[in-house]
Symmetry: D2
Subunit: 384 residues, 4 copies
């Protein structure tokens, strides 16, 4: 089986998420990075390409060059998939051009700068028939997939309550003045959009909640704060949720929980039992019951179903981590595209990657939650 | 040093919390249970008294009898402290009569049936000059006391965020129809008051939050639910909080988190660091920092301050649990009363037990949170 | 039901374990401490007795006085049970005298100064028909009892492997020169006997292993070390074990594991599954299976059997700790004695306390393990 | 920078560790797999090569063909590194031929079939000047590297005690009769050598102990068992250790701990403090102190040193797992080889991969520990 030829937009030296995308794409040997426009600064792009061992003529100074020049290459040589890892305000244009030029796209989250842009992109996906994978990493964890399956199979009975939280501490101080590029753009409304923490990590929490529970947020009531003086976007928030099918929930996302790393967690309770998963112990899913002892379900362990197994590489007890979860998105996207190339249907486990629909809902979440934060009205309808 | 002579109102066979009060009072040998009106059913009261080894003439059929007849005994013999462990609607009358008859009182939470009753009781405490200890158990844990001290000393800098949660699962089904006495009265508005879960465990969470943070709830926005069909009071809720000094928070209390035991937890974050305590690992306080590794502070371990040490009985590594925490309330109350009897000032560590003021605020919480639950307005002022 | 009248030998101010015994005896209201010879220093004894609220005429200056003078009191008034909490070299004489004078005895571990003494005491117990409870605390934990039951019921299949460990760090430095009374006598061969760590905590580990597994140590091979310079007894050891029924095991006990508290732990594996219990998470028993997820069995939780339930005071989720475990020994001993007084058979759950036989085996362990430590021969027969 | 061209011997479909090597080599984009002799069955080899996207003319039917035919290719095209992932009895011959043919070698552990073979291989490495990396995975974890650094820097003072354990449960039943290829060869003395569990996982534990502590095993006393009936090699063992510099230790490795996954763990104690690391929580290193709270050092977190940082790919809180640890071996080996190709000295962090010396000591461990298991003598000298 031939590797998919991958191009990357963004991800020059010093960027965080570009490197993660490259690691994730490399792990399973299903992609070969052959081209890149790593930075709007041509020197940075060139240096990055050199360090990555790319042919100099496939390192570009702009995303337009990458797309148009790759398109001009022979079909057997040109990139097939383009990963876009730029800040939010630079998602739509390259994604649109890539799709319209016939490429499939991997796009970092949140999907776009605004909900309007998200809808525009959805229209392009629909019109072109190309595929888009949005990198909501946490849904790539085997035990998150297991959680979703257990809920979908009705193991917990009707769902009543969902708690999702994403506490970080890295923006506890005013970091955006200096060298910290991540802090700079993520707190800049011209680059991030209307939300800070809610866009950066709140969307992850939101996506995780809808993915695992299979429910939809219908109404929300948000307390959105900018805690650190001088900051221009929210760095903290908590949201009450009314979910479909009569359930309710709470979503917490903060970047000022001093001393916290990245411990995204979801707990979900139904009539018969509950589930508890957290990234800090990512290979464990606690399965709780009304009337018998809690069980520790483990990546690769007994009882887990086909989705979790499909997304696991090693036997139980060999911890799989963040990069493996991220790689699962790339891998499933590759399996889907390869099936398409082979004219075969992709298995459902392969099709289980975050898509354009997730992206549109994520952007809707951002706009709804920020609106609710500004509102004196208790409940805001979740509109898309 | 002579033991304090203790009488008990409520706590007959089959009751849960009465037995806990007796264990807690017994542990440190500072009380001797000598009298009781354990039930409104005289037979039950008598049997309970017999099993507890009380003299038959000090087992009473009503709280009035207990109070008046004990008062008639010689000073050196009559009870000095009365513990009231009846359901909420039967708190005020015996507490009032006991205080007015010159007895000090230990009272289970929530303090009364309503806020109006709480204020009435506060007036009685003020008028009589007697003392009242309210059994908010969780503030008796050594590491909760340590948390409060660390915050009070400014170790975390200004507090920004407080998360408190109390998930239980024991009311996941409709339990109140049958033999389960606890379920019966705790879900009965004529006995519990306007709140179910919010009164039973929400007040614990609220008290823990104000105790540890030293902050006050100023505004709240509540989502209050009755999840189980047929139930007459709330069994689930989540509350957004605006706290004094610009902080904010989230309070979660639920009794329908299937599979959860009793894992009350508080996390608090300031400018410089954070704290994390949970009952399931009660002898550990995680102390988190912006720029150095998280520390595991332990009951009896190095670094802990005078309040935690005062409330610890054994060297580090010998787990102290719920009964020890509960006993700390009784013990501190005894030390305070003994100091008073000896005409000496009680040390601050002894005075650190939940008081009438905590009780009034707890009842205000109940009424405010239920009102907010019914309101379409986002923020409700916390009024007392 | 009347309380049992308790006398105490040892446990004056400054002692550690005497206070623990008093807390444990008090918790369940089944004993009333009425007499004591708390110290060989009459002033210390008197002061301790005063602080504990004892009548001055029942505070004695020697154990002989306590025993003989209490025996001279009317039956309805004199002590019934005597707790002996002195250092090891002062166990046999008071225990013997107490038993021969008709009292039942609670005795701290290790049982005596030597195996010869242990056998002598066993003969006295047999001859007098009185009862003796040895305070191997850890077997009082509900989940340790559950572990024993699961093994006894064959849930794990035939047992193959047992690991028991007891790491402490408090003797990492030379502590015995100064104020630390605990360090002083526990490292003194004239007071502790032939073993230091192996006697102090190794016997606990040994007792736990035989209690839970139901197996007997048949051969051992020990590496016994004195790590801290100047120390006169062992402070560290590790032992390979051959157990009855073809099983094998490892026992580790050390007092120089710097930074460790008191985390005694046992793991046991059979053909079908395994168990894991540790004091640091005392209310949890991990139950592992060959072919299904690990389960978290909890004190007070679903599935636990009659022995664990009998030794539990509160519903699941209210942590029970070291003092409750210790109190379970006292409580079961009291239930046994009360049944005897009432002329009724004690239930098996009450009879489940560490006895003279455990004590004899514990002393045999000490002598065998120290002998093995000195031997060049690999396997030493476990002889009693 | 150009990728290193990699060839693989072994690792056909159905093999476990071959796939792991490929994932590990791929992750960081420093190798390109270009050739393979995946199986002695040419069909299997061909199919594997095809699935991996290799050119058909570089998929070989034997290791000899691979080595000789690759050597015949132009220097710019032929493989540079050869990974050998066959069972133990098929390590020496291909490794020797590869090294003698000028290739650098990655070799799975244990290094060879016997100590004699190991010494032979060491002589070849010395004679050829080629490099060899032995895949003792666990030393690739960032927090294991941090542990080693903390010990080396004297942070804990002189080391006194080391406990290392590797419990597994997967061989609790007789698995070797059927389809389970892993069980088949790992329990077969003609393929594994003189040891089963001690070779498969005992060597990992031994290597981890010597790597972290910096000490050397000098004497050992082993209890080696074959627990499962019909098995031909050991499946369980425990070993007392005398270490250099006066320290001592215990090593446990078992494959019959029913319900255990793969939880290799090391604890090490010195005069001033201790360390605790386990694979199940691989991103945490507990750092314990005599006189202050235990600290939780984390991958990517504050305080960690250059070796840990060098082996970390993502910010703190993004769990890195087994594959990342494995990939660190490949990555450091690549960095070393690339430095060599560039005529530059490799940084010490790159040179920190398990080497031929580790392999020789590992094989010596196997032979010494099995000999001790058969011996009646208590202590066996560790000879190489």
């Amino acid at each position: 089986m031939n590797k998919l030829r991958l191009g990357m937009i963004g991800g020059g030296q010093g960027a965080f998420i570009g490197a993660v995308h490259r690691l994730a794409a490399a792990l399973d040997g299903q992609y070969e990075l052959v081209a890149g426009a790593f930075s709007s600064n041509p020197d940075t792009s060139r240096t990055t390409g050199h360090l990555l061992g790319l042919a100099p003529d496939r390192v570009y100074g702009s995303y337009e060059d990458l797309i148009t020049q790759e398109q001009a290459r022979p079909a057997a040589e040109r990139v097939q998939v383009i990963s876009i890892v730029t800040p939010n305000h630079l998602h739509l244009a390259p994604a649109k051009l890539a799709l319209e030029s016939g490429f499939d796209v991997v796009l970092d989250k949140p999907m776009t700068f605004s909900l309007a842009e998200a809808k525009e992109l959805a229209a392009v996906v629909a019109a072109t028939g190309r595929r888009l994978c949005l990198t909501h990493t946490y849904t790539g964890y085997p035990m998150v997939k297991e959680a979703r399956q257990l809920v979908a199979q009705g193991t917990l009975g009707r769902i009543r309550k969902v708690y999702v939280e994403y506490p970080q501490g890295w923006l506890s101080k005013f970091e955006e003045g200096g060298e910290n590029k991540q802090a700079a753009w993520r707190t800049d409304p011209t680059k991030s959009g209307v939300a800070g923490a809610m866009g950066d990590i709140g969307t992850h929490a939101f996506n995780l909640l809808e993915y695992v529970s299979g429910l939809r947020v219908e109404q929300l009531c948000a307390d959105i704060n900018t805690v650190v003086e001088g900051r221009r976007l929210d760095d903290d928030g908590a949201v009450l949720l009314r979910l479909s099918d009569g359930a309710s929930g709470v979503l917490v996302a903060t970047q000022v929980a001093a001393g916290e790393e990245n411990n995204v967690r979801i707990r979900i309770y139904g009539e018969k039992g509950g589930l508890d998963w957290m990234q800090a112990d990512a290979n464990t899913l606690l399965v709780k019951w009304l009337d018998r002892p809690t069980e520790i379900w483990r990546t690769g362990g007994p009882s887990v179903g086909s989705y979790a197994r499909h997304n696991t590489r090693t036997p139980a007890g060999h911890p799989e981590g963040y990069l493996e979860a991220f790689a699962n998105l790339y891998r499933n996207f590759a399996l889907t595209l390869q099936a398409e190339l082979a004219g075969q249907p992709a298995p459902p486990e392969a099709l289980d990657y975050p898509s354009i629909e997730d992206g549109v809902r994520g952007m809707a979440f951002i706009e709804n939650v920020i609106a609710s934060g500004h509102s004196d009205q208790k409940w805001t309808e979740f509109t898309v």
